[in-house]
């Protein structure tokens, strides 16, 4: 009951890997087959009969970075609208079809993509395909749904951001880090923008992004590959291809010196956030930064945890993780200061740990620990069909290579102590840093 609440921001580091384990010499490949329909829809299938369920997922390559600067929040809002029905599915029936068939469904939106999924009993594969093809072919976007979901999304924003402790952490940080790039707003966007959007704009958005050539259909579970292929053809092959999509070309300019700011709020304990720009996910340096963050905050014995939380008790928690994004992203180091501790003192301790990594190489033993941790996470991840379907889709969408589900671990294992040191020097650069303090607004005496 009185455990410190962990921000509700999903600060957990997900490495997004799965598949084979090299260090142990054991290998469990995740087999899959993939193909494109003529309309450009990319299809990935993974067959696994251990449980009689199937995950049917569609990932659209559209997120908040594809939004107009005066219509932020559109991609996420659309995710809500696309549960409202289609020409053949009435309002609310997406839910009742799936749940009435014994399945679950949901969706989520990030800066880069929107992801819809159903997990169904395996004899209901066709139902999932019908629903997703309806969503892609002729979703129904109309008055009642728009008005209802507008209010629902406002409640979502209040619940997740405005009425959450440190709820402004992510929006405020992204806004400070990015000045040009659309990553400067978060997927929840602006309520005013959503209020201002017209019906035509919604339809334009749908026609532009919800097209087969901008989507990945990824299916994992108790399926027969041949039958699945046939059913996919049946429901998806006649959905017309859309126009090519022009993507934002904005490149975030380099910063000339550190940016510092204080965000005032009502939360009692000070939060320190440091943000550093990093390369896009999938680049070699991205993995070096990931390993660097693992040194800093992977487990209780990691450097920030041991020093800042345990030995010096300056913070309730302290960590570092990367926001891996399609375009150059950001890595965050953060700490929730203990009661009565000056946030500047916490910040100094965090900086000293980073500086140490710039000066000294990590030992072979510490490297071994990191690799063991990575291997263990790799084995644990993707133990569910929904997770495998999503990973396969991700790897295709961002890297054009779903087999990374089996091989991405090699990229982590290839990182050397020298790479980690270089990443610390290059990316944990004070001149590129944004430092934010989240402090309690001083109480004025009545």
């Amino acid at each position: 009951m009185s455990h410190p609440h962990l921000l509700g921001l999903g600060l957990a580091v997900t490495l997004g890997m799965a598949g084979s384990f090299h260090a142990s010499g054991q290998t469990r490949r995740i087999p899959f087959e993939s193909f494109d329909l003529k309309n450009g829809l990319h299809v990935i299938l993974h067959e696994d009969h251990s449980t009689p369920i199937v995950a049917v997922t569609v990932m659209y390559h559209v997120g908040s970075k594809d939004e107009d600067t005066t219509r932020t929040g559109m991609a996420h809002f659309f995710e809500h609208l696309l549960f409202e029905g289609s020409e053949n599915i009435g309002r609310g029936e997406f839910d009742s079809y799936v749940e009435g068939a014994g399945g679950v469904l949901n969706a989520n939106t990030t800066q880069d993509r929107t992801f819809y999924y159903e997990v169904l009993p395996s004899n209901q594969l066709e139902l999932g395909l019908w629903l997703e093809s309806e969503r892609m072919l002729h979703a129904r976007v109309e008055g009642v749904g728009i008005e209802t979901q507008r209010e629902v999304v406002k409640e979502e924003k209040r619940q997740r951001y405005d009425n959450q402790p440190y709820g402004q952490l992510l929006p405020a940080t992204m806004e400070a880090v990015y000045r040009e790039h659309p990553y400067r707003w978060t997927p929840i966007g602006s309520l005013d923008h959503l209020n201002a959007a017209s019906y035509e704009e919604f339809m334009d958005f749908y026609r532009r992004f919800y097209v087969p050539n901008n989507a990945v259909l990824s299916i994992a579970g108790d399926i027969d590959l041949k039958t699945a292929r046939k059913l996919i053809e049946k429901y998806f092959k006649d959905i017309p291809r859309g126009a090519e999509i022009a993507r934002t070309q904005v490149v975030e300019p380099r910063r000339q010196g550190e940016y510092r700011d204080t965000i005032w709020g009502k939360d009692a304990l000070p939060m320190v956030v440091q943000a550093y720009p990093i390369p896009a996910q999938g680049t070699p340096d991205y993995y070096a930064v990931e390993m660097l963050n693992q040194v800093l905050s992977g487990g209780e014995s990691s450097r920030l945890n041991r020093r800042v939380v345990d030995e010096e008790q300056l913070a309730l928690f302290c960590g570092a993780f990367s926001f891996g994004l399609e375009h150059p992203g950001v890595t965050l180091a953060y700490a929730l200061a203990s009661m009565g501790v000056d946030p500047a003192q916490v910040e100094r301790a965090m900086n000293e740990e980073v500086e140490k990594l710039k000066r000294e190489l990590i030992s072979p033993t510490e490297l071994q620990k990191l690799q063991n941790q990575i291997e263990s996470q790799f084995v644990q991840s993707n133990s569910s069909m929904a997770g495998i379907a999503e990973s396969l889709a991700n790897y295709h969408m961002y890297f054009g290579n779903s087999d990374l589900i089996n091989t991405e671990i090699d990229r982590y294992m290839a990182v050397t102590p020298e790479d980690i040191q270089r990443a610390a020097r290059k990316y944990y650069d004070p001149a590129q840093r944004v430092t934010l303090y989240f402090l309690q607004t001083p109480q004025t005496q009545p």
């Binding site: 009185s2 609440h5 009689p52 004899n123 594969l125 209010e151 304990l269 014995s301 084995v379």
Partner: protein, 710 residues
């Protein structure tokens, strides 16, 4: 397929013709896709539940193994089967004992434990009811080495305790703006109160009271193999698991583990509105809740679960979600849960809604709860929900931990061995009538708590109309009642209020000279018969109380500074220690004034305006206790009459703290003194009322009256 032997012109024609044919065929294929109807399901797949191995080891540890070689990993979960205990003024020590278990052993520091676990990429976490550890198969021995050390030789290092304490105190500060955390505290506190372990909330004062000895004692009492399950899941055979269990946990010594009965708590009457203020909040966190008496696996449990799923269960189809989100757009999500429990379960329906629709949302919640207790659910709803729950059951089996949790539930709750194998059949047989019956018997739409965390100035008073007494009760972030006392007039002190009471009832000097009293009357304790009571008090010497039924003595009590005895129905009990001390108060006619002189701290906290008549509130604490710690007793004096009306006390006994309330009313004059002729005592939902019909001042005392029997 195309005939290449024919002349070109001809073949060109034929190709066109064929193409035309293909076109028609493919159009026919498209036409076969009937998009207007949902496709039919294929034949239902078999849902197979994996097996588990169960075995008791020589020291009483029960081993459960679920073998699953899909991934090269093994998890080890040690789970204690114990009853929750009251923690009282040290609330938090049970959690501390669990948390600190992993922070040092007699041969390993916390840093060494962390390093060993991180080095193998493993996980180790400890709670007051067990330890969880997991790693890749090849690190099993390294993992168990640490897990076993943590279990068998924890050091409960004093400096780790201080660290843990200061983090917990920071945690309280950090939670003070978290609506979810505040709501959790509020619900615990109002649903379960002081009398049940689930109602205890950690505060700065309780956390500061925890000592190392509390943790050591908890561990050595409750961490015993004879009340423990070791659940092993993953890439390991039962034989290997047993060998490892013997090696690492074989020397763990069994011992008798106490079972503390948990008191049943009384049900409140009428709906109550409980509000915790979160200034500046833009949403109200609403919980509609009450306690439920339903144990896991009881015959009604499955129907209750279906009922809750229709009302506000997991998916989007639930009535609360459809009504409050999809229809009214009040919220991002509205759900309910009904959790069976071995002591006391709970029903909670919840949503976060914008301030201006808070009262409208409560209306919808109450209407939905009413409706499901009154009307039959539709066949579609019932079918969708049973299908959904069947699907959830199948999906859960994707994780091998599910089979392990089934095994553990069967063992812990003494369920039939085939409980889960027959679960789907039982689920499918639930009817609409069953739903209405269980809704009507387990939901209490007329007796529930409406607990809201939100913006008091914008929201709270609009909720008063939902309360049986039309009042909103206010609580702080830790779920403790906000006193809301009004200031007292200048010059008034705790001493002057207490003195006034004695003056009004006879005068301080006259009370001081009073030798004793004899009181005759009746006692009512919820029984149909009336019991007669006789009470003798000789101030400074002794007291004697007798309760009789039709002249037969049922209970007799004697208390003197030299000792006390209670005899009832042939049984005799010596009264000693604090229990005796509390009885001896009655031997002091000016007890309150004298306690003040002995150094007890009396604080006039204010005027409580709630209730029928305003009351002065005097809080009494032991010498040296801070003014923000919970008072040992609280005294209430009627502002208008000046007389003592109530003493409420938190008493800590062997089974934990209990809240007792004594009310005094109907003051009447006997021999120049005013005595309350009605004294009601309530403790933990039980009450006892004494009515005095005759009070004799300075009676003649028999010298044998207070003699203790050998």
């Amino acid at each position: 397929m195309i005939q290449l032997h024919t002349p070109f012109s001809c073949s060109a024609l034929r190709i066109w013709a064929w193409a035309g044919l293909f076109l028609t065929i493919s159009q026919a294929l498209i036409a076969q896709v009937d998009r207007t109807q949902a496709p039919k399901a294929g034949p239902a797949p078999t849902i197979a539940i994996g097996d588990y191995h169960l075995e008791k080891l020589p020291n009483g540890l029960t081993l459960i193994v679920v073998e699953n070689h899909r991934l090269p990993r093994v998890s080890w979960e040690l789970s204690l089967d114990i009853t929750p205990i009251m923690e009282g003024p040290k609330t938090g020590f049970v959690r501390f004992a669990g948390g600190l278990l992993g922070t040092g052993t007699t041969s390993r520091t916390k840093a060494q434990i962390d390093e060993s676990i991180d080095f193998i990429g493993g996980r180790l976490s400890t709670t007051s009811e067990g330890i969880f550890a997991a790693s890749l198969t090849r690190h099993t021995d390294a993992l168990l080495e640490v897990m076993s050390d943590v279990l068998l030789h924890p050091s409960f290092d004093a400096s780790e305790l201080e660290k843990y304490r200061s983090q917990a105190l920071s945690g309280i500060a950090s939670n003070a703006t978290d609506p979810g955390a505040i709501s959790g505290n509020l619900l615990s506190s109002v649903l379960f109160g002081d009398a049940h372990p689930y109602g205890e909330v950690e505060t700065a004062a309780t956390l500061k009271a925890i000592t190392r000895e509390d943790l050591v004692a908890y561990h050595s009492t409750y961490f015993r193999p004879n009340v423990a399950y070791l659940v092993v899941v993953g890439d390991i055979s039962p034989a290997e698991a047993k060998a490892k269990a013997m090696k690492y946990f074989g020397s763990w010594e069994p011992a008798e583990v106490p079972v503390t009965p948990v008191k049943m708590i009384g049900m409140q009457q009428g709906n109550q509105v409980c509000f915790a203020d979160l200034p500046g909040a833009v949403q109200s966190n609403i919980s509609i809740a009450h306690v439920v008496q339903l144990k896991p696996g009881e015959p009604d449990a499955i129907a209750v679960s279906v009922m809750n799923n229709i009302l506000g269960g997991g998916g989007f189809s639930g009535r609360l979600m459809q009504n409050l989100r999809e229809d009214k757009a009040f919220t991002y999500g509205a759900r309910s849960s009904l959790t069976p429990d071995r002591t006391l379960g709970r029903f909670v329906a919840t949503a976060n809604v914008r301030n201006e629709v808070t009262d409208s949302a409560v209306v919808e919640f109450l209407a939905e709860i009413q409706r499901i207790t009154r009307d039959l659910v539709t066949p579609e709803e019932l079918n969708t929900t049973i299908q959904y729950m069947t699907g959830s059951f199948a999906r859960a089996l994707e994780n091998p931990q599910t089979v392990a949790s089934f095994a553990l539930n069967i063992e812990r709750n003494r369920l039939p061995k085939d409980y889960y194998k027959t679960y789907l059949k039982k689920l499918a047989s639930v009817t609409a009538e069953d739903i209405r019956r269980v809704a009507a018997s387990y939901l209490r739409p007329e007796n529930l708590y409406i607990a809201v965390v939100g913006n008091r100035s914008e929201v709270a008073e609009k909720l008063a109309r939902f309360a049986g007494n039309k009042k909103v009760q206010y609580f702080d972030a830790l779920g403790q009642p906000v006193k809301g006392y009004l200031p007292v007039p200048d010059g008034l002190t705790a001493r002057s209020v207490v003195e006034k009471h004695y003056e009004l009832t006879g005068g301080v000097a006259k009370w001081r000279n009073l030798k004793g009293v004899r009181k005759l009357g009746q006692v009512q304790m919820g029984l149909p018969m009336v019991l007669e009571s006789e009470l003798w008090i000789q101030y400074g010497k002794g007291l004697r109380a007798e309760v009789r039924m039709s002249g037969q003595v049922m209970m007799q009590e004697v208390a003197t500074p030299a000792g006390g005895q209670i005899a009832a129905q042939g049984m005799k009990k010596e009264v000693t220690g604090t229990e005796l001390e509390s009885r001896l108060r009655d031997l002091d006619a000016l007890y309150l004034l004298n306690a003040m002189d002995k150094g007890w701290e009396f604080l006039l906290a204010g005027i409580d305006p709630q209730g029928e008549r305003p009351q002065y509130v005097v809080e009494v604490r032991e010498k040296g206790k801070p003014a923000d710690s919970p008072p040992a007793e609280t005294l209430y004096f009627d502002v208008e009459s000046g007389l003592l009306t109530r003493i409420s006390a938190l008493k800590v006994g062997t089974t934990g703290p209990t809240q007792t309330d004594e009310t005094y009313s109907d003051y009447k004059e006997f021999g120049g003194f005013q005595f309350p002729t009605s004294v009601a005592m309530t403790a933990n939902g039980q009450s006892l009322t004494s009515t005095f019909t005759q009070i004799e001042v300075n009676p003649k005392f028999d010298s044998q009256l207070f003699t203790l029997k050998p």
